[in-house]
Amino acid sequence: MGLNYQFVLWNKHKKMYDKIIVLSMLLYLILFAVVTLVFNSETSIETLILRAFGSLAIVLLHIILVIGPLSRLNTNFLPILYNRRHLGVSMFITALIHGGFALIQFHALGNTNVFYSLFTSNLDYNSFTNFPFQVLGFFALLILFAMASTSHDFFLKNLSPTVWKRLHMLVYLAYALIIGHVFLGAFQQETSPFTIGFLSVGFIVVGSLHLISSFREAKIDKSIIDKDAQGWLKVCTIDEIDDDRAKIFTVQNERIAVFKYDGKLSAVHNVCKHQGGPLGEGKIIDGCITCPWHGYQYLPHNGQSPPPFTEKVATYELKLLENIIYINPKAFEEGTEVEPTQIQKT
């Protein structure tokens, strides 16, 4: 998987996904233009472009932001997550058209350069309602640019997943900046309870979905684990794990996935090397742990991706005492062979 960045195949689902994105965006822009031209025909074409693309970008951003928590709450949403980057890049391009157009329209052809003008034409940085809202949009656009341009797996490899993940967490900062941009900008002058209400509800939905899904995760993290005399941790009984599936336990701040398959047990570090997907929510397919996000695979007994791929995750030692599974909390090196624990047939 690591050898070939094109692993994520251009399959037919992906094409359908892209078609839906492009058609929905076109539909939005056309609807916006038609309604404006019919009800407010004195518009200028520049304002039409600026507003259609700006508002489309923020609607797309809301859709992108609910996909994460929805798929943590219900794994049936995972196929959307799997292709979220296309939505992200489309959203960036939309925002770039809006922001680029605004920069040219409001700041170009003047007596200073465009960027100097962006920061200095309105100096009310200490005011709330007069705040230079365009600056907020500009910083948001920079973040979106950084994310869109590193969204390819190539960067994932070369930036290390942790750095990449941090970079992509900045989307929340971008969202906050954009909310500020709109509420301190357009909404100060184009004050309609309908558009303000629409974005406020959007904000509440995005916020509460994130809260709910992180509460659920916090519950997993709290699962209490008893120690035995040798320092092994008691995790659960065999029956609590389904065949070819896993349960996730948090041991010394690391999540570990314990898999049951072919009458055996194996444990690996829960975090997928691709984009940090939760391996413990995956499934054993063809004898391999298969990540629920994009399908990267690892052998349960050594945490290695089957050749020719080279990904490796840490492995753990298990033991079984009267149907109760114990785990040695000390992780082995990534890719270390561990003899699977046999479950006695009774």
């Binding site: 309604v35 809301h62 309609s192």
Partner: protein, 263 residues
């Protein structure tokens, strides 16, 4: 409620029924919200003015040049009726850089008759002309025509907003207020004359060219006040179809109400 479905992108047929149903539902809801967004954002825009900018059409205008104190062209439109057309440069610039060339022919331009080709901007009885090419400014008559003097009226106070006339009278929509402030700041610092736009309770608008107490241009001092509802006191003078308001920057007051020009 166990969910046995497990989609793997590269495994044909792994997209289960329940997953498919979830995805379809998601797409429909997202599409519905997208359409709702398009309708709300497009329908609930404030009404645009019918101001006009003839971007692609040029017009030739002949008149007497004067600076009162901003560059204008006085055009006769009827017997004893004159219209003063404000001259502007290309982009966010005043007219001066585009008059440098013609100034080589005559040290003072005041009172000379010029023919200028440019793009018209007009709204609510006021007209402006954008000069895009200094080659298209031609001296027609270098003898000096006598110009009328502005008449003092009285000291008065007005509520309104400082706008840049280029955008307000046609180039941009909306050409006022917070959304447009940065652009107006660029225009006025680039030499476009600042204008106070007011509007009374009957929605009749008045426009005042702003100068200092000596009748000289103010551009930089007024920048922090552009695009904000304000109350301004000054001496009103009339120059044919334009009012001029001579102000002391100290008399400038920001007010919290929205000015009527938003309606």
């Amino acid at each position: 409620m166990k969910n046995e479905e497990f989609y793997v992108p590269y495994i044909e047929g792994s997209l289960g029924m329940r997953t498919k149903r979830t995805l379809k539902r998601f797409v429909f809801i997202a599409l519905f919200l997208l359409i709702l967004g398009a309708l709300l954002f497009s329908y609930f825009q404030n009404t645009f003015k019918n101001s006009t900018f003839e971007l692609t059409k040029s017009t030739e205008i002949t008149g007497v040049y004067h600076e009162s104190p901003y560059p204008m062209l006085r055009v006769q439109i009827d017997e004893n009726t004159y219209k003063n057309i404000i001259l502007l440069g290309f982009g966010k610039m005043g007219a001066h850089p585009f008059l440098k060339k013609i100034r080589k022919e005559a040290i003072t331009l005041n009172g000379k008759t010029l023919k200028i080709e440019g793009n018209l901007i007009y709204y609510n009885g006021k007209t402006l002309l954008q000069i895009t090419d200094d080659e298209k400014v031609i001296m027609i008559n270098s003898s000096i025509t006598k110009l009328p003097k502005s008449k003092a009226i009285s000291q008065m106070s007005f509520q309104g907003e400082i706008i840049d006339p280029k955008c307000y009278f046609g180039v941009m929509k909306p050409g006022f207020g917070k959304i447009h402030r940065s652009c107006a700041v660029r225009c006025i610092s680039g030499g476009v004359p600042p204008i106070l736009a007011t509007s009374d309770t009957n929605n009749i608008s008045q426009y005042f060219l702003i100068t200092d107490m000596n009748g000289k241009p103010i551009n930089n001092d007024i920048l922090p006040f552009i695009g904000k509802p304000s109350e301004i006191t000054g001496i009103v003078e009339q120059l044919e179809d334009w009012y001029i308001l001579k102000i002391n920057m100290e008399s400038f007051q920001l007010i919290s109400e929205k000015s009527n020009i938003y309606d």
